[in-house]
């Protein structure tokens, strides 16, 4: 009837093939997302906290805050 017959399409294993492909893709993308988050968010954040507390003087900060008058338990030194 026609010039050439079509090839017989795949009849079996369609779900398995799809799962194998998409499982690999899903794993890769998840790992990439986790790695991306770790190196763009958590590591810089840990660095920032380390830097902040390296030379942090709690008493100095407390005196500064006391002078600004934000506490209820202690008044600024003048009063």
């Amino acid at each position: 009837m026609s010039a050439g017959t079509l090839a017989k399409p795949a009849m079996r294993g369609l779900l398995g093939k799809r799962l194998r492909f998409h499982l690999a893709v899903a794993f890769t993308l998840s790992l990439a997302a986790a790695a991306g988050f770790k190196f763009s968010v958590t590591e810089p954040r840990k660095q920032a906290y380390a830097e902040f507390y390296k030379n942090y003087d709690a008493m100095k900060e407390f005196e500064a805050m006391r002078e600004a008058g934000v506490f209820q338990s202690v008044r600024p030194k003048g009063q």
Partner: protein, 168 residues
């Protein structure tokens, strides 16, 4: 009485043909009650053929169909196909341009809603609380910096306490 009200909703003609004429013979079947033709991808074989009243050529073709198909030309086979079916799968699956109208309508009504919201803001809502004035916000910001809010990565981190200005 309720039954007659219900009957009047269904349609006098349908009732009279199916109920009252029972004594006279078979009920007349309306067109919509017969098996219908449809083009649907998920249901490839409709309940009936597309062409119901065949012309004389089509009848001749149907007779020829009873013989050997190898002796039919492609044109005849296609004609037989078109008797049974209205659109081919390819024709039935083509998209329309309808989505453009839908998107246009969506944008239009969102824009219209924008006007409604603007009118509402001007004519319905009262004044905003005093906590939004410049002085209040300035005092608020100073207090936030004084109490060192989010000093590591956030708000107070952006303030330079030595030079009393925002960090560059």
């Amino acid at each position: 009485m309720i039954a007659s009200r219900a009957l009047s909703l269904v349609g006098r003609r349908a009732i009279s043909t199916s109920v009252c004429l029972r004594g006279h013979g078979v009920a007349k079947v309306e067109d919509y009650a017969l098996p219908a033709y449809f083009d649907r991808r998920e249901s490839p074989l409709p309940d009936t053929t597309f062409v119901k009243h065949l012309s004389s050529e089509q009848l001749a073709l149907k007779e020829k169909e009873k013989g050997s198909w190898a002796q039919m030309t492609d044109v005849e086979k296609l004609a037989l196909y078109r008797i049974s079916f209205n659109k081919s799968f390819a024709e039935m699956n083509t998209g329309t341009q309808e989505w453009k109208s839908v998107v246009a309508g969506v944008f239009f009504f969102i824009g219209l809603t924008g006007f409604v919201v603007m009118w509402q803001r001007k004519f319905v809502y009262g004044d905003v609380p005093p906590t939004f004035t410049e002085e209040w916000i300035a005092a608020q910001t100073q207090r936030m910096l004084d109490m060192r809010m989010n000093p590591v990565e956030g708000f107070s981190n952006k303030w330079d306490y030595e030079n009393k200005e925002w960090k560059k």
